[in-house]
């Protein structure tokens, strides 16, 4: 990422972490990546009723280069998979991904030749929002949870430690066996 990654000292770094986390979580710029039904609910979430602007997110970026959140909204076909990878690669870090809806999370009800069985096969996913399609409130819930996560994100060597911890916790959760 940037210069903040190379700051020395733990005390100073933790203050910078807090500031960076607060700034990053308060104005995420989502990329417009609507695919199917969920895209309509994503637009509804951006509409006046649910008002994504409350979270500083109403500015949906048309270009991935100016976005730091990719909301994959809808079923991802095999043909679209290379495109989404390219869009993700074009986004500047730090960046996050929300898999919106069961199709994006796992392929959902379309367990067939055409649909990629979860976007996490193509790109890393930070937050899964279930539902077919998830109602706007559910998307907002996922976004708020992602905000919490971004706010607690560490920098530099502490980030590496945090990722190790998370991985260990995830492995333990999955198998029930301590590593």
């Amino acid at each position: 990422m940037g210069i903040e990654e190379h700051l020395p000292g733990d005390f100073f770094l933790s203050r910078v972490e807090q500031l960076a986390g607060w700034a990053r979580s308060s104005s995420l710029w989502p990329a417009t990546f609507g695919l199917a039904c969920c895209a309509i609910e994503m637009m509804a979430a951006g509409g006046p009723r649910h008002d994504l602007a409350r979270f500083g997110m109403e500015r949906f970026s048309a270009t991935p280069r100016q976005a730091d959140l990719l909301i994959v909204a809808g079923r991802l076909s095999q043909k679209m998979a290379p495109v989404i990878r390219q869009v993700y690669d074009q986004m500047a870090g730090p960046k996050w991904v929300i898999a919106m809806g069961v199709c994006a999370a796992s392929g959902g009800m379309f367990n067939n030749y055409a649909v990629v069985q979860g976007v996490d096969k193509i790109i890393p996913v930070d937050m899964y929002v279930p539902g077919c399609p998830p109602r706007p409130e559910m998307l907002l819930d996922g976004i708020v949870k992602l905000h919490d996560r971004i706010r607690s994100e560490r920098l530099g060597h502490r980030r590496v430690e945090q990722l190790d911890e998370r991985e260990a916790a995830a492995l333990q959760g999955a198998s029930g066996v301590k590593r």
């Binding site: 695919l35 199917a36 009723r49 079923r75 679209m80 030749y113």
Partner: protein, 440 residues
Amino acid sequence: MTSETAQEPQYFSITGADPREWEDMIAAAAESDEDRLVINMGPHHPSTHGVLRLVLTLDGETVEEARLGIGYLHTGIEKNMEYRTWTQGVTFCTRMDYLMPLFNETAYCLAVEKLLGITDQIPERAQVIRVMMMELNRISSHLVAIATFGLELGATTVMTNGFLSRERILETFELITGVRMNHGYIRPGGVVQDLPPGSITRVRELVAETRDGIGRLAKLLNANPVFLARTRDVAYLDIRGSVTLGVTGPLLRAAGLPWDLRKSQPYCGYETYDFAVPVQHSGDAYGRHLVRMAEMTESLNIVEQCLDRLAAGGGPVMIDDKKIGWPAQLALGPDGLGNSEQHIADIMGSSMEALIHHFKLVTEGFRVPAGEAYASVESPRGELGVHVVSDGGTRPYRVHFRDPSFANLQAIPAMCEGGQLGDVIVAVASLDPLMGGVDR
């Protein structure tokens, strides 16, 4: 493509395009003296209504050639339906064109009912509910069409207004069907359940609210000089071109042909409703907008007529034939919608035959006589046709959908070529294609 190249085997890259096509295009452009530019618009682009890809050849600002790339949302829905029962098929086809789920369901159910030969036995109340739900769905779909039209022209206010009105309709759908989108509400034989208490009043309120919302949109757009400058005489397609290309729906009616399946081949009892078919003669993007606006008002009139009929109350909403209709009317329990307690007490406590029948119908489904049938409905985007083929089993042998967006989309080159680059956005927006329906 010449006949010689057509003989050669076709190669496709992972993006679905012939890699040599690009190479040929680049080579041809390099040889040519003309100052032409080939740009690729989509499949990830904010104003292509989903994952549509357009390959545009430009001479300055003029579009010389517009080519379409589709298939980026291919979901295999038709194939999946072959592995599910006839009733479960509804759950799949509702997700095709996700702005008109109730039309997908109705078209599919009409075809299955035709094949079963039970079209006349569908209860009157179920037909009225179908019509009411479809017309509300038509309004919500047109609202998105107009809202995204505004968004793509850069007018966010249009979008917020459209989505605000649509949100009220979705709330009503949620009250009646349980979900906002992808309802699975209409089933072969009728509808899943009767309207819940209070829904007639709610829909009456909704009609008034929506009428307000449409009025606001009309005030905002219909005489807006910027909107007029962008849409008038843009993306022109006359009757002859429309008919040749198989274009239907608001596009055809904006060209001047009053072709509406609700009038010409009535289904679900549309012949008994009093409504007009709005027509414009301009054949341009503005005409299509006016047709959509007028259609929403007509749909509200139909909804009001439905409400008058439904207010009388009573009557079944599912076919009487126990071999087809779900064995129990659903009831709302503490953990959600399910079989009514009375029915569970019956099958678990008193009647073994009822339990067997319930089990067979739910797990295996009903059989449909071998044959094929075609049914079509007038969807917000045009003629939505369904061709179902049965081999006599409990699952479809083949289901194919004639999706209006798919047929309409081939009019894009006719509308765009020779025009300005900026007008391509207007053409696509006025056509209102839904890639979920195109690619299925």
